[in-house]
């Protein structure tokens, strides 16, 4: 099902876009995996996750205790819809530019 294109300023910031894109490919991802994959520090990722959580795009679940403590990040249904719409908006912009280039040649 294709999403209705809708640009999302909150998601489009490069770091947040990478976080949301990674989470969109998953049911959930571990905090440390997300941090390592995106080359971020704990504090930088925590800050961005807090912003996304406030917007209702991401949910955070902590499990275990002590050394086995894990933090799972999950994209909410709202976040998934917003990401699909944002990605569709980006594709639309690129397609329009490509069409204009082709017409100019």
């Amino acid at each position: 099902m294709s999403a209705v294109p809708e640009f999302d300023e909150l998601i489009h910031a490069p770091t947040r876009l990478s976080i949301v894109a990674l989470l969109a490919a998953t049911e959930w991802a571990d905090f440390t995996f997300t941090r390592d994959s995106l080359g971020m520090s704990d504090s930088a990722l925590s800050k961005q996750i807090a912003t996304l959580e406030q917007a209702g795009y991401v949910s955070v679940r902590k499990t275990g205790a002590g050394r086995s403590r894990r933090t799972h990040l999950r994209l909410s249904a709202t976040g998934r819809r917003a990401f699909r719409a944002h990605a569709a908006a980006l594709r639309q912009i690129i397609a329009a530019a490509d069409a204009a280039d082709a017409a100019a040649r």
């Binding site: 894109a21 490919a25 912009i93």
Partner: protein
């Protein structure tokens, strides 16, 4: 927003999603899980020879395999979205389970017909061996298909 910005955004999306897919594709079932599952198969097969209720044993086997998922999930760093884990990607694992069940049934029928002692135990040994031998291959095939599909 300009086109370059949009292209950079799409490239960022693909790169981030590629990381998740590569992580999932590199996941291998730990040896303890393989050993525990094979042991459950064999244990169930032996119990059938001893004369336990097959329905109860199958129930106990299914519950035990489900319980094994708990420590298994705790070791995973990422679980891919269901839209990426399609039958087209996962069929080698499904085929392995069907093949393993087939090994048990055929071996059991053949051993019963031959009048072998403890036919279920022997068939269970073959089944557990087939599972242990086939799982790494099925995993590799699944991983290749996962990466190719992304």
């Amino acid at each position: 927003m300009d086109t370059d910005d949009a292209r950079a955004g799409m490239a960022g999306i693909e790169a981030a999603q590629g990381q998740a897919v590569r992580e999932a594709a590199s996941w291998r079932w730990p040896r303890w899980y393989l050993a525990a599952t094979a042991a459950l198969m064999l244990g169930t097969a032996i119990a059938m020879d001893v004369g336990q209720d097959p329905a109860l044993l199958i129930l106990a086997y299914c519950c035990s395999v489900s319980l094994l998922q708990i420590p298994l999930t705790a070791r995973m760093r990422v679980r891919l979205h269901r839209s990426r884990v399609t039958f087209g990607v996962n069929w080698p694992l499904a085929a392995l389970l069907v093949a393993v069940a087939g090994v048990y049934v055929l071996a059991r029928v053949a051993l019963d017909a031959a009048g072998a002692p403890a036919p279920s135990t022997l068939a269970g040994l073959l089944m557990a061996g087939a599972y242990a031998a086939g799982l790494p291959l099925a995993q590799r095939m699944t991983a290749r298909r996962l990466v190719a599909a992304s």
